[in-house]
Symmetry: C2
Subunit: 250 residues, 2 copies
């Protein structure tokens, strides 16, 4: 079994945010597997087969990639951002664990990338400069009650919060509930960042107070950051800078 599977992160969108490590894996691949929007970022070439699949089929995609690698192919499965943060790496390991024992001897590597929250934070200042938490707001794979409990505890811990998958056409209401809950628990002035498609031509940034935040400000391409109680704005011409100081007291 000489095949190989790389689970690679393409970063938030711009080519100059893809690591050379990932570029090399792509240049050596015989097969690239992934959600169609991400596979579309890969340039076709002789000797490379592109396998684009739909959004909701992570487990099938993971098994397909493992099967190709087990057959001796050099496979790269692509995610946007970092593959380990709400992306394909966990799905691949779930498939690996449930699959044939010989899959465990495959050469499997995870190649990290710049995940969306780091790109969003960088574009707006340093909102994640102190302790923070990272939540997937989709309730496809966990109950709403767990999301709500984690939000309450995160506010109690005074974490800044990064939210992935805040809102989609199939789940228009969850994020409304998130904002209602946060408005109930936090002061209105807390900064909220809506960072859509950072580093792509569709990039859109919005910095508002929690009191001004509306569900429609997010869609499935938006990364949301809610500051901690200490997160501050620096006003200047144009967009303010948002940062969380390094120091905190009880």
């Amino acid at each position: 079994m000489s095949g190989r599977l790389c689970i690679a992160g393409l970063g938030p969108g711009a080519d100059d945010l893809i690591t050379p490590e990932v570029q090399r894996a792509l240049s050596e691949a015989t097969d690239v597997v992934g959600y169609a929007s991400y596979v579309a970022r890969i340039s076709p070439r002789d000797g490379l087969t592109l396998h684009a699949s739909d959004n909701r089929v992570e487990m099938e995609r993971a098994r397909h990639a493992l099967t190709l690698a087990a057959a001796g192919q050099r496979v790269v499965i692509v995610s946007s951002g970092d593959p380990g943060v709400f992306a394909m790496a966990s799905a691949v390991f779930e498939a690996l664990e449930a699959g044939p024992p010989d899959w465990r001897s495959l050469d499997i590597r995870v190649l990290p990338g710049v995940t969306a929250m780091l790109a969003a934070a960088a574009r707006t200042g340093a909102p994640l400069g102190h302790d923070f938490c990272v939540l997937n707001l989709s309730d496809n794979l966990k109950p709403w009650s767990l999301i709500e409990r984690r939000l309450r505890l995160a506010v109690e811990a005074d974490f800044a919060m990064a939210f992935y998958n805040p809102r989609s056409q199939a789940r228009p209401d969850g994020f409304t509930r998130v904002l209602t809950l946060l408005k109930d628990l936090c002061t209105e002035s807390r900064p909220v960042i809506f960072a859509r498609a950072v580093s792509t031509e569709d990039e859109a940034l919005l910095i508002v107070s929690l009191g001004e935040a509306k569900p429609e400000m997010a869609d499935m391409r938006t990364l949301v950051i809610v500051g901690s109680s200490l997160t501050r704005l620096i006003e200047r011409d144009g967009r303010p800078l948002v940062y969380t100081p390094r120091s905190a007291s009880e």
Copy 2:
């Protein structure tokens, strides 16, 4: 004022984990400012001045970089990992906010990078594949009581946890208290990852159960990840894979 300040992340250590965006900023810089260990990673060239400083002088370093940029230089201030995660970006914005008003009109950009927890997670599987939190365990800038309170709430939320700066020669005891607290709150079998200097020639990885974890397993170059209650091992020849499944119930 035609100067520019880029606050750039060099990634965890390997050159092939530095983004092309950061490499370009470095190639255009007149001045690189940073902690000596990170500045040592930058190749000298004509027209580039390297300003290496000591570990504990973040604010002086930030003011120095801003002063150089205000004088018209093209300055890159370097951090390892991502500059926005327990690195130089927040320090720069603290200095900016407290400094002369004309600093606010400077061209300042944060260039994201692969932060240590993503590199450590990638090397070991996908331990951060579900909701997680990120804590700086240094009590230099916050009281120990706050760290302890956040740990308790993080366990209650069942977050996986990534710990930066777990232990140093100046702070040998804090991490002992962290492990004691976690052993009190969590089952012994929970996976703990000690990932030292990932992607450098000094890389060392250790995967143990919480019951086996010892303070001496971490030093100032170690990133520690503690799994959630759902984090699992996949046994295979050599090191096991560690991952947190995407699904959770209450």
